[in-house]
Symmetry: C2
Subunit: 114 residues, 2 copies
């Protein structure tokens, strides 16, 4: 399954409310208690991490992350719920994609481009 | 379901062998018999369309598209098979994503960012 990548994105207008990068960032914020530490873990600048958090918070009815750089940050209950549902959604979709059609495609695709 | 976007990408090394854009291009080439006409339909430059075709052809064991700009292009049997399997895969994944977790997320996400 190494070569199948499923990117599940939930849109809010033209912006992405939740996707693989934002889910990973939420997880890292929950673990580290800090937007900058979470960004560092994911190889993201603080600015980039902050922008992703800002987009999530503007896209959801309730903020998913609270707090600011100086005093640390925490994932809210809404954030935990959104993350859990997103991961469940992505797992179901990935599981569904793992079938005969995928196996046929996998056989047709080279390991590396010609 | 308007706000869920599922992007299913099949990788070949670091390149994307098949994804939503390439699948749409294959369909348009099959319909128009031309890379440039297909690109135009999708609002893509000829160069961009050609590069996507080139990537597909280098990523698959057999070429998915044959022919060149002057004399038209056609989708090969391998191309038809890859497209059908990709669409089946994407449909299964989308169907799986349409559940309770998605409904909860949909309720949490605003129509437009704040």
């Amino acid at each position: 399954m190494a070569r199948l990548k499923l990117k599940l994105q939930l849109y809010c207008g033209d912006e992405i409310a939740m996707g693989p990068g934002k889910a990973a960032l939420l997880r890292a914020i929950a673990r580290t208690g800090s937007i900058s530490a979470a960004g560092r873990e994911l190889g993201m600048s603080y600015r980039r991490a902050w922008l992703l958090v800002d987009t999530m918070n503007r896209c959801f009815a309730e903020p998913l992350v609270e707090g600011r750089s100086g005093s640390g940050a925490r994932v809210t209950a809404a954030g935990e719920a959104a993350l859990a549902d997103y991961l469940a959604l992505a797992e179901r979709a990935e599981h569904a994609a793992d079938g005969a059609a995928f196996e046929r495609l996998e056989k047709m695709i080279r390991t590396h481009p010609d």
